[in-house]
Symmetry: C2
Subunit: 471 residues, 2 copies
């Protein structure tokens, strides 16, 4: 048996090892940071996309698909935006043998592709709210070290864009986005926390940005998405206006919400262990794998029963795989553990006699039997238990990594810190630079107040922020 790297020792190497062994993505493509989605990885990603679509459709967002390329002239209309992306976009300069008159950018995100069209689509208050989304690949010329799913140059991306009559209505959209996120994250068994980013860290062109972060086992934070309120910062340069009920022309207020394949990176990082992946049941390409346990005399009988079991589960709606390869059961267990299939079903002669299937949970190793008669309901129930237990465990782990500090003398390693901050940029930068930590921002849900001192200058403050090392 190959020895796996250990998650606790060296998270970074362990992560890459898991991605490779489970064959989720192939990084040998001849452009660095542009990886190939293998069948297994792509199935998982498409399952994630499915839940994104489900929640967005249910909240009356319309799916669209905008062109990949954006003319330089459109791209440069909002000045902060282009400053933010100038150093990390790909430029198309030639087509065939011709040099293009206007250079084209590969979308790093689609504000500047969509907003010239929104200016045509939005005429009256009756056209609002306009709520659209797309699931496409985006492109960023990363100069930092790339890492599968977490930092890549071609990024599988979800983005929703909305236009509203007022700042308040746009704010309600942000709240809807937070609701949508909570539903998707539950399916993915993914804990997270929301922070209002500092002014120097908000999205280029945004009024404010809510960062969606989660914590990796090494205590570093990983941003898995963001939600932005733009006010009229884009609708002014792009002239997205509507006629209100009194015939007055006003600029629309806009929001966006984006998440990427980092969701899959976060799932791998949080749930897997030294044996391999652990796939949350809702996104697992295969939710259960059937391993027939053959003996000398019962081969045909067991094989037939295993096929019937596969058909029954499949009809019930379970994504099931029958592993009937000519190999020892032990080696099959090993393979599917690496792949993270949540539930293993073993079927041998004695199981058939007893009218049961023996199961083993990937997450806990727990074993037991399920009656064949109720196999669909039984498997569904255990999968639901696995989901709950993965989420609870991950939430507890996240909580254990949050720590409040009130002095710079005792900064713990591998934690997300909560600390008082006066809010001034000077103190913020001083803190970030001195400790190689990033201020993630002020917690978005401000239910509990804070009364403390700025950890840098000592001034009394009612504001606390979260800070962490980042992936």
């Amino acid at each position: 048996m190959v020895r796996h790297l250990e998650k606790e020792d060296n998270f970074g190497d362990w992560y890459l090892d898991i991605v490779e062994k489970a064959n989720l993505s192939d990084k040998r493509y001849p452009i660095k940071g542009m990886n190939v989605w293998t069948p297994y990885g792509w199935k998982a990603m498409r399952n994630i996309d499915h839940f994104i679509r489900k929640e967005l459709d249910a909240t009356r967002h319309d799916e669209v698909c905008f062109p990949l390329m954006i003319p330089e002239t459109e791209f440069k209309k909002e000045k902060d935006h282009i400053k933010g992306f100038d150093s990390e976009v790909y430029w198309v300069t030639h087509a065939g043998v011709n040099e293009l008159d206007v250079r084209l950018v590969l979308r790093p995100t689609s504000e500047t592709a969509m907003y010239p069209m929104f200016a045509l689509w939005v005429r009256s208050h009756q056209d609002l709210p306009l709520k659209v989304y797309q699931i496409v690949n985006t492109f960023r010329y990363e100069t930092k070290q790339t890492r599968a799913f977490m930092r890549v140059r071609e990024i599988h991306f979800f983005e929703s864009h909305t236009c509203h009559v007022s700042e308040e209505d746009a704010q309600r959209q942000i709240e809807e986005d937070v609701e949508i996120l909570s539903k998707i994250a539950k399916r993915l068994c993914l804990p997270y926390f929301l922070s209002v980013r500092t002014d120097w860290d908000k999205f280029p062109g945004a009024y404010y940005t809510v960062g969606i972060d989660t914590v990796m086992p090494n205590g570093k934070s990983l941003q898995i998405g963001s939600i932005h309120h733009y006010r009229t910062n884009f609708s002014e340069p792009y002239e997205i206006t509507y006629e209100d009920e009194n015939g007055e022309h006003k600029h629309a207020h806009q929001t966006t919400y984006g998440m990427s394949e980092r969701l899959l990176g976060a799932i791998i990082g949080i749930h897997s262990d030294d044996k391999g992946l652990i796939m949350p049941p809702d996104i697992a390409p295969f939710q259960a794998v059937i391993i027939p346990i053959l003996s000398k005399d019962n081969g045909p009988l067991v094989t037939e029963a295993a096929r019937a079991l596969e058909a029954k589960l499949s009809e019930y709606g379970i994504r099931v795989k029958l592993d009937d390869r000519d190999a020892r059961p032990g080696s099959k267990y090993y393979d599917w553990e690496i792949k993270g299939v949540p539930l293993r079903l073993e079927l041998g002669g004695r199981d058939i006699e007893n009218k049961v299937v023996t199961f083993a949970r990937r997450d806990t190793g727990e074993k037991g039997t399920i009656e064949i008669e109720n196999i669909g309901q039984g498997v569904e129930l255990i999968l639901r238990m696995i989901s709950s237990s993965l989420l609870e465990k991950a939430q507890a782990s996240q909580l254990s990594k949050l720590q409040e500090i009130d002095s710079l003398d005792e900064i713990p390693e591998g934690k997300v810190l909560r600390l008082g901050w006066c809010g001034c940029e000077e103190c913020g930068h001083k803190f970030e630079d001195s400790f190689d930590l990033k201020i993630l921002g002020n917690p978005y849900a401000k239910k509990e107040g804070y009364a403390g001192k700025c950890i840098i200058c000592g001034k009394d403050t009612g504001m606390s922020v979260l800070a962490a090392r980042t992936m």
Copy 2:
């Protein structure tokens, strides 16, 4: 009422008018030939993709997603291929402020992206057949006049790629592709015919190419896809080899199969009429629309019954839309006729009394009633009848546009011609150039023999070809 353009008078303008009025795509995006997929058009395209995925998954193809960009060095490995695409690819030359060392091509198709990886993936005969597909956008710098769905510069595209142990096994794949096509086309109510393309018209690098064509109402042919046998033309330069059972290293034989958003263009062209679109039920974003017919006293009653009807149909699995806008029924009829919803359901006070729903078919205008008690089955049945009838009508129309000719003196307009050809390139070019017709190729299914003379040189020949003007 706005007067619609008429299909028979001027197919080209009629087509663009329909696309715009039904709001399937917005061509006002600031790059010519790159259109925005609107919610309605994208829903229809995703339904088409659904049937492609279904058939490909059922034949054990694995879905993957390869990077968009291809290094120039990889792109140029197969010499015919690059010659075929040299004048129509987009080049990425800069990233951020840097000029790239190796220029990158935006995929016009993915042979040269996939095959360096196939060389790593395929080692032994046990890895074969390798069958993968992806649904992505591809890019071609069209210099001809662009037209929504039919000729665009960003193309929504399906492509499958396979590797086999032998030419025969690759040939069996071509036959499977033909089977898959027949199943997909049936869902789309799309007649088509298959021709083995001439040598000068085959895919760059292919051993042979089967063109999938359909006929537009103006008698021009539209290529909606193609299937290619590559033999070892790509596996040699890309070094895709496997070890056979005797330990010998051999080159894999390869095939590809591709179709694009032209499928949607063909559907619009074939099925729609002067009132607007007619969507085949399987791909219609809405299969049925409910129009409540309110009178002064029965408003709440009818509205409530219409909502119940919507819920019942939706639960049954019908994609249904309740149009409860505050507008006259006649204006609603008009809107949904343009959008091509296959079935209109009207519900008024008398219908409720009689426990029925009044229906009107979009394709034939036929009206009748369905009992509310069996509304799900009733609607399903009528949708299936509409599908069959759309396909039959389209097949009859295609057949009426095929005509055999045996002399150059009487070349009819608006037809797909069948004619004898000796097979020599000189005669072929002479025919194409003299009559502005394209030789589509030799019918793929060679069940009926042919005995005639080459229409150009008069030599006896056993080969006939199809020829047509092309869209």
